[in-house]
Amino acid sequence: MSQASPFYTTDHETFRSQIRRFVEKECVPHIEAWEAAGELPRALHVQAAAAGLLGIGFPEEYGGAGVLDPFYLIVAMQELARAGSGGLIASLMSHGIASPPVMHVGTPEQKERFLRPVLEGRKIAALGITEPGGGSDVANLRTRAERNGSDYVVNGSKTFITSGMRADFITLAVRTGAAVLGGVSLLVVDTATPGFSRTPLDKMGWRCSDTATLYFDNCRIPATNLLGAENQGFMTIMRNFNSERIMLAAQAWAFGMVCYEDALEWARTRQTFGRPLITRQVIRHRLVDMKMALDAVKATLDITAWHVAQGAAPVADVCMLKNLATATLERVAGEAVQILGGAGYLRGIRVERIFRETKVLSIGGGASEVMKDLAARQMRY
């Protein structure tokens, strides 16, 4: 279809056309209704599972696609982004950040309980890291889990949790040991547990994604729900952040491309002072600048994803990629709204929503400032 690439094959294109059909048929017609409802219907998760979307990156024996190539996930992000709603990706794919710890350090029994139903779309998974008292500072989190017989007793709260209102399982970061990074563990919390409660959060964008603050009041969680060894959760969380940030960068690039394509289409058809907008040099140059910046993001995205697929953990590269991609999206979305003019300010127009949803990508999964600090430390400045 396009130019030859070392990363994308005809299989990726076949896969792309399936996801495109799913998005056009099952998502695009309903986005406005979901945005108004403030959440996605559960049935969509079952449909997404049937379309092969939820299983990407997960093992086949638990209902996954069994293919570890990260470029399929990038293709999926690109196609999902065409619906023009960040909330759709964040919430439908929240298992993409909640379930990898189950896959990586869970026991076969835990995978059967917590991974399979999620990949089949029957259950919804969310990741609970951020706390009201602190954001990306995982080493200092305060939600406690005290061992009591065969259970952990969990007390504390989490906030800004994507899919938090609907989630059946929370992959929860808790303190089980001393107040250092060596005292953090991961527990899977069933949201039917007594003592668990949640409240919704109203947001600037991602409106079809249910975001919540979670409260744990003496929740008794069976010790069999502990993922990996006690006090060994920090590395799993860090590894998870790496893949989350690459996917956030993929989303930022994909939404940037939607902005660019919509701005280009508009510039071609919109007549001003008797000529199409695209004949004006100021617009032509602006469009080239947008494409140039997006292509640089894509090149960085693909090569970083490739390094990670080879088994590397290039933390600094991932931090810089996320910042490059999200900063580019902020710029490109702003330019697209400007080119569309009044039309770009109207609800129901893709670039309008994407523009409102730029900041969440620059903040979520590690704010730009945190990314820079982390990159500087990783590069031993």
Binding site: M1, S2, Q3, T10, D11, E13, T14, F15, S17, Q18, R20, R21, F22, A50, A51, G52, G55, I56, E60, A65, G66, V67, Y72
Partner: protein
């Protein structure tokens, strides 16, 4: 029961078609290509018949350039057991395709031959009918429902006057219409497994079919650009406008 399904590689339905500047055809370089959507419906039907236990083996076949193997891989991802590629780099007209498919039928002896009612590139709507005529076997075109019992098929056809139900003896040729089914989403594991399924290559020459067709394409041109519309405020104004154009 063996089912043969023919699939064609066409320009993807999402692509905005562009005519080559010299009028020699439609631009396909760097253009996204896909399986003809009607052939996807034929594949889906074959796979459903296999899932019901009616069909035991599905063979996909295509006639076309080396790149058409991608379309066969899609058919294999749907659930075809194996594929036959009649490699022909030049243009393939309906009668040439029909003769090649008839030759493949001669080797495979399918009980059921499913095809899309037409391909969305040239919309010829000829190949299935030609195959049935050359094979001298029953045909049921534009199928919106297919039921198989023993050696007979009951097929509901979409015809101008509505729906017509006919019963035909197998082996038979059935061409499928849009409403027969909704093709499934192909999943990554199936796309991957398709790469390990066998594809047999052959040529028109091997099959004893002449590559040259009887039709000559004189020129390809875009439809005339639509002129700008006029907004009318009242029905009276609309009627006056239509009368003015001599349409009323």
């Amino acid at each position: 029961m063996k089912a043969l399904v023919s699939v064609k590689r066409v320009v993807d339905y999402n692509v905005r078609i562009q005519v080559k500047p010299d009028g020699s055809g439609v631009a396909t370089d760097g253009v996204k290509m896909s399986m003809n959507p009607f052939d996807e419906i034929a594949m889906e039907e074959a796979v459903r018949l296999k899932e019901k236990g009616v069909v035991s083996e599905i063979v996909a076949v295509t006639v076309g350039s080396a790149k058409c193997v991608e379309t066969l891989r899609t058919a294999l991802a749907f659930g075809a057991d194996r594929a036959i590629h009649v490699v022909e780099e030049g243009e393939v007209q309906p009668l040439v395709a029909a003769k090649a498919l008839v030759a493949v039928c001669g080797k495979e002896n399918p009980d059921l031959f499913l095809l899309g009612k037409q391909a969305i590139d040239d919309d010829a709507n000829q190949t299935g009918q030609m195959v049935a005529a050359l094979l001298d076997r029953p045909q049921a075109t534009f199928a919106s429902k297919v039921e198989i019992a023993g050696t007979k098929a009951t097929v509901t056809r979409e015809v101008d006057a509505g729906l017509q139900t006919i019963e035909i003896d197998l082996p038979a040729v059935i061409t499928v219409d849009l409403r027969l089914n909704e093709p499934r989403y192909l999943k990554l594991p199936d796309i991957m497994k398709a790469k390990r399924k066998p594809v047999e290559n052959t040529t028109l020459g091997d099959l004893g079919v002449q590559a040259a067709g009887g039709l000559k394409i004189v020129k390809t041109a875009s439809p005339a650009a639509r002129s700008k519309g006029v907004m009318v405020k009242t029905v009276d104004e609309l009627i006056a406008g239509l009368k003015n154009k001599g349409l009323l």
